[in-house]
């Protein structure tokens, strides 16, 4: 886990329990005339980088998304009780689907300047591997010796959740024993600029960054851009039991679809019918009843679409008011980590499931009236709920291009 509010599982667990925001003010954005001068960036020290990468790997390295992806991926791998040894044999049973929304834009920019100045040879040996979209999975494969499917998926803000589904299906089909899955995202003006121009991001809280990301709030004013990476190690139950690995939870089912940019859907807005179908399909795939869902980790970005999302959940589950499950949004603390969002939020969902807690959905003390009209506000925890037994947690992500993914996580009952 490399999230804007914490690095590593233990600090991240602590941070989300306490409702700690990772949103900060960045002068660079202000200097570039951004409307939104705040964002979520994982705080990684040079010393920390050296725990994951060699000095040679860090030479001419300028790809934060790949760095975060490798940090999260290596941590997940080790946490699953697997070792990292550069002299190990190729592991034919393990692969990775590690996604990203865009290739490393900082490295691209640096390369463009060198090329335009006639200095193409200055690009050195790593410009290609850092800027290819599959860079993060390629780095991870080399570090871990992965010999199964090694690829990077891309479906905008659905990327992280889609990677989980792809790895899950790979294992389910018997083609791999273990899949390292996740998503990562770069940060900074070149990634966030387009969203700033679209006016979909928050610009009213530049002086008050921790209050800026306000999913489900009446005063939500657009999302706050974030970055980072989240990773999960998925493994067949037999293999995990054989190794006596720590099992955080079970991927019980998943679904993915698209709205085809028809009906209420467009390039940038979801087709509500598609969202509802995706949720229902995931539930069916998991073989559960909608009433079994204890908690929803929503997509909930803090735009005008939050109320539509709540309505889609309520319709798909046929649960309203006090009968609605608990729901929260991690984005209130991390911002919207784009290609990494689904992965970071899924890690949060599994930590809740494993430890029976529900982190607070901060910055929505003033729940939007359109949301309060559908579900009871008691279902949006403002404070940490501990010792809250959880069996099933649903996670959904939606992305530009009108794409949707929904994953159902279930407690592994030994």
């Amino acid at each position: 886990m490399a999230a804007p509010n914490a690095i590593g599982i233990s600090d991240f667990t602590n941070a989300i329990k306490k409702g700690i925001s990772g949103i900060r003010f960045y002068q660079e954005l202000k200097d570039l005339n951004f409307s939104c001068c705040i964002g979520g960036i994982p705080q990684v020290t040079e010393e920390q980088k050296l725990q994951y990468f060699t000095p040679l790997q860090l030479k001419n390295f300028n790809s934060p998304g790949i760095l975060y992806g490798c940090m999260a991926g290596m941590d997940a791998w080790k946490d699953a009780g697997l070792s990292i040894n550069e002299n190990s044999d190729t592991d034919w049973d393990s692969g990775t689907v590690f996604g990203t929304g865009s290739s490393s834009v900082e490295k691209l920019r640096e390369s463009f300047y060198k090329i335009d100045a006639g200095n193409v040879k200055q690009l050195g040996s790593t410009a290609v591997v850092q800027t290819m979209v599959s860079g993060v999975s390629a780095y991870l494969s080399g570090i871990l010796g992965l010999g199964n499917l090694v690829t990077s998926n891309s479906s905008a803000c659905c990327t992280g959740a889609e990677a989980i589904l792809m790895g899950f299906e790979r294992i389910q089909s018997g083609k791999a024993k273990r899949m390292l899955v996740g998503g990562c995202s770069d940060h900074g003006p070149y990634i966030w600029g387009g969203f700033d121009a679209m006016k979909v991001i928050s610009y009213k809280h530049n002086d008050d960054p921790e209050k800026a990301s306000r999913p489900m709030s009446a005063t939500a004013g657009g999302f706050v851009p974030g970055s980072g990476a989240g990773a999960l190690l998925l493994e067949s139950l037999d293999s995990a039991l054989d190794r006596a690995a720590k099992i955080y939870g079970e991927v019980s089912g998943a679904a993915i679809n698209a709205g085809g940019q028809r009906g209420s859907g467009s390039m940038t807005a979801p087709n509500n019918e598609a969202v509802q179908r995706c949720i229902k399909d995931a539930i069916e795939n998991a073989g559960i009843h909608p009433n079994e869902i204890d908690l929803i980790n929503g997509h909930l970005t803090a735009t005008i679409k939050d109320a539509a999302e709540i309505n889609n959940w309520a319709t798909a589950l046929n649960r309203k008011g006090k009968d609605f499950p608990y729901i929260h949004s991690l984005k209130a603390m991390t911002g919207h980590c784009l290609g990494a969002a689904g992965a970071i939020e899924s890690v949060a969902a599994i930590l809740c499931l494993d430890n029976d807690f529900i982190f607070p959905s901060i910055n929505c003390e003033d729940v939007h009236p359109d949301i309060a009209a559908i579900i009871s506000t008691e279902k949006i925890p403002q404070q940490l709920l501990e010792n809250n037994k959880l069996q099933v947690v649903a996670k959904a992500s939606f992305g530009f291009g009108d794409v949707n993914a929904c994953i159902i996580f279930k407690k592994y009952n030994r």
């Binding site: 409307s35 121009a197 679209m198 006016k199 467009s266 390039m267």
Partner: protein, 84 residues
């Protein structure tokens, strides 16, 4: 610039984004960009950029949020032109 001239200019600007021809043919002061012309909400920023270029004005974020109808657009354009 007369009101009619301004509406004519706006008509030319929004034309490429319009999804509802009937609404466009009946465009008047009370026309709503999203509901009557069925302009994709994401395209509103492009409409505003085109207005900025056409009138050589800068439209701030707060004004931008209000610019959902022809009437609001006209008021904001006139205010910004007067400030020049």
């Amino acid at each position: 610039m007369t009101k009619e001239e301004l509406i004519d200019k706006l008509k030319g600007i929004v034309k490429p984004y319009v999804k509802n021809e009937e609404g466009f043919n009946n465009l008047n002061e009370n026309t709503d960009f999203l509901n009557d012309l069925k302009i994709n909400s994401a395209n509103l920023v492009d409409v505003i950029l085109d207005i900025e270029t056409e009138f050589d004005i800068i439209i701030d974020n707060v004004s931008m949020e209000k610019m959902l109808t022809v009437k609001a657009a006209m008021e904001i354009i006139n205010t910004k032109l007067a400030e020049k």
